[in-house]
Amino acid sequence: MTKPSLRPETLAEILPIMAEAMATQQPLAIVGANTKSAIGYAVADATLVQLDRWTGVLDYQPEELVLTARAGTPMAEINDLLETNHQMLAFEPPDPRPLFGGDHQGTLGGVLASNASGPRRLTAGAARDFLLGFEAASGRGERFRAGGKVVKNVTGYDLSKLMVGSFGTLALMDEVTLKTLPRPETAISLTFPAADFSAAQNMISAIFATPYEASAAAILPSDMAAKAGLSGDMQVVIRLEGFAVSVADRAEHLLKAFDQGEKRDETESRRLWQDIRDTHLLADEDADIWKISCAPSSGAEVIASLMAEMTAADKSCPYYADWAGGLIWMAAPQYTSAGGNFGDMMREVVAQHGGGFAMRVRTADTNQGLNPHVVPPFQPLDAGRLALHQRIKAAFDPIGILNPGRMHQGI
């Protein structure tokens, strides 16, 4: 199915496209630079609408900690601008290239639509915490604005939260305003060996019970540690950021309080956390790539249950964890030893251990999205939340023209 692709330049230009889509019930597949199309279902029989011409930073006031840009602005441009001004997007959006290929770092709108957040999400918040306001066209083909351009605002519903992570299924954001923060003066890492995941998680809990303010914490099993250039056993990786005098002091305290720690300098630290952030460590696996969000202290049990199943199936299943153990990245085969679906099992295990969700972010199945027997990429919703999702979708996109079915049936 090759349909013409459209690349409107303005919000005004897309309104007639939407009106026609509503009239003809022709779904629109909305993308920015199309770097994350592997996430979710493909939108069937859709006209491709690319928003990569909605570019440009409209206003940036470093002292106000706000940046307003059009959603199609390349992340490379945003990152460069912020770096020049010693600022950052504190949620540390991943670079999609290692996991999804291509040479584009994605757009600001794509980062928001997928709530893409990196290691600092643990302590600083996710993309959803940094979108202050936006202007958009809803699936009704109407312009609307929500939020504001200041860092503190509770006027009206916080629709920014709803936009972030909605994968373009509710509205098309054009102008977006984000909160920026100063870039830390320096960042180093400490690595500590751990006997197993549980011990690693306990060590991280203990570190977060000190006032030494880690900004990120990951757990790398020995195979992943080796890939990341660290030798030996399972490694706990702790990042310390901030003013140099403070980072040095905190590092010293932590190295005293916890055994066998090693200090990693700024260059090595940056490389390590890029690998962790971008899922680079699993990128070459020929298997489905899963992201599991669970309570940090449940990580060990979740992994133990999954590993037992893998061993029984005589399969390997490389993984590592970020967010203090609460974000597990895993490369997993589709089917379990019992012939069941691995994704279903994964979700059961997470539900049994305190809840959370599992999202398939990349599949090795070339038939992706078309095989009804493949496990859903997004965690299926319980009845109460499904009803709310359907009604919210209908409130923004009643005919279902915006990425319908990308996340769930009809949504």
């Binding site: 009239a23 605002n153 809990s205 002091d249 305190g354 709310l388």
Partner: protein
């Protein structure tokens, strides 16, 4: 303030409604005497009062669900209430609505240090969360000034802030999960001890929805390790513009203080008269800048900030050397509202946000408005994030003064929006700023927000008359002009 016309048929059914509610909760938990209801007739916005139809005090989620299901079926409005400290009238009762008071939900359910999370019922106070975990060195960061009394459920409904939110965020940034009951009586869990939603961020939408989308029955809050050290600077300036410039300079230097508060001349002197905090009485503006973190970091940053404010032209600088001194610096700021209460029979507390660079213009505008209305205004600001709290001084016993004060306040909020800011930074819209919403939002913006409301509460039964100046019927909001073709999913309600 025009509230929705009470439904006479509901009021006529009052006795039957009481009987039904007594089948859901123990009879003693249904408050129907006028005297009993009087205690609930207002929240922190005490200029507005209304006796509720009846007050119900549920104590289990099942009871909340049953009450909601019953009210939904019978078409009875519901107004949820936590501790009733809202400054915008979010919990103002309605004559034809059940007031759902959540005060009996007062237990902390789980303290989980491994996941740095506290699970609590919504009626627990904000400060009680910190009290429950401080022995282990943890605390709950959002600290609205009412934290001794306000409930965490109310904090979620209002997305409460506080003096530390520039660095630590508002409620929405410190909330991991909720359990809520919809208007239809469905119990829905959002989030938990894990991070992020993985689907639509309903938790984010619930936060700050001012009790219009659901009733919160449980919250999971993120707790943080207490910083090792806290120190503060008390800095006087001869001009407000210079103080505003200094705030920008500090942030431009890459420093995000834990708190950065500004007070104007009138507020400084009212506070000084009241608590004798050692504030510079002749200063036009005062900054309290608090830094927290490891001791070496705080000491180093105190030095940097000292240099920055000096450079910016500070007229006086004091640096706290002891914890007692730091507390004294704060004493005047924390007592600012009651201090202003001592110099005026009444005051209105406003809550707009502006881009910080607009502060000098705003001060000029406020002085002009103060003359125009013949009313004094004292200013305290969360300077770091541009959140203003002008206190308009008036005397409610003088005919027409309340109206003049309200008009003055509305003009200030208009100026906030005009200067690129917003109507409310942390107090919420409620009834107080409801009719000002069209200043900030177009008709289409407000309609889209109301469509979201319709997805949760299609009959406008939950806390109606708040936030939105005009209630549109959901069917009308959902109307769509499509030239041809059929609707997919014909069974789905459309808004």
């Amino acid at each position: 303030m025009q509230m929705p016309e009470p439904d006479a048929s509901v009021i006529a059914r009052r006795e039957a409604i009481l009987t039904s509610l007594r089948k859901i909760v123990p009879a003693a938990s249904v408050v129907d005497s006028e005297e009993g209801r009087r205690a609930y007739d207002a929240d922190g916005l005490s200029a507005y009062r209304q006796l509720p139809l009846v007050v119900v005090l549920p104590e289990t989620v099942q009871q909340v669900s049953d009450i909601m299901r019953y009210c939904h079926r019978e078409g009875i409005k519901v107004v949820p209430r936590g501790s009733g400290t809202s400054l915008s009238g979010g919990a103002l009762p309605l004559a034809d609505a059940v007031l759902l008071a959540m005060g009996k939900f007062n237990r902390i359910l789980d303290i989980d240090y491994a996941n740095r999370c506290v699970v609590a019922q919504p009626g627990v106070t904000n400060l009680a969360i910190t009290h429950a975990v401080e022995d282990e060195g943890f605390y709950y960061a959002p600290d609205p000034s009412s934290q001794i009394a306000c409930s965490v459920g109310g904090n979620v409904a209002e997305n409460s802030g506080g003096v530390h939110c520039l660095k630590y965020g508002l409620t929405t940034n410190n909330l991991l999960g909720v359990e809520m009951v919809t208007m239809e009586g469905e119990v829905v869990r959002l989030g938990g001890k894990h991070l992020d939603a993985g689907d639509y961020d309903l938790l984010g939408i619930m936060t700050g929805s001012e009790g219009l989308l659901g009733v919160i029955t449980e919250v999971s809050l993120r707790i943080l390790q207490k910083p090792a050290t806290r120190r503060a600077l008390l800095v006087g300036f001869d001009e407000t513009a210079t103080a505003a410039q200094a705030v920008g300079d500090i942030i431009a230097a890459g420093i995000i203080p834990a708190g950065m508060e500004m007070m104007d001349h009138l507020a400084i002197n009212a506070a000084e008269d009241f608590v004798h905090a050692g504030y510079p009485r002749d200063a036009a503006a005062l900054l309290i800048i608090e830094l927290d973190g490891p001791e070496v970091e705080v000491d180093a940053l105190i030095g940097r900030v000292d240099a920055i404010v000096n450079q910016a032209g500070a007229s006086s600088i004091k640096i706290s050397m002891t914890e007692e001194e730091r507390m004294r610096f704060w004493a005047g700021r924390k007592a600012a509202f009651p201090a202003v209460g001592r110099i005026s029979p009444d005051y209105l507390c406003m809550d707009g946000t502006i881009p910080r660079r607009a502060l000098p213009d705003m001060m000029v505008r406020m002085a002009t408005l103060s003359q125009k209305y013949g009313l004094r205004v004292a200013n305290v600001f969360h300077a770091g994030d541009g959140n203003l709290h002008p206190l308009i001084l008036f005397d409610a016993n003088e005919p027409g003064e309340l109206q003049r004060a309200e008009d003055f306040g509305a003009d200030i909020l208009r100026a906030c929006v005009e200067m690129g800011g917003v109507l409310t930074g942390e107090h919420g819209v409620g009834v107080e700023k409801r009719d000002l919403m069209p200043i900030q939002f177009s008709e289409d913006d407000l309609k889209q927000q109301q469509r979201l409301k319709c997805a949760f509460d299609a009959n406008h039964l939950l806390n109606p008359g708040k936030v939105f100046p005009q209630l549109h019927r959901c069917a009308e909001l959902g109307r769509l002009h499509v030239h041809q073709g059929k609707m997919p999913f014909p069974d789905l309600p459309r808004f």
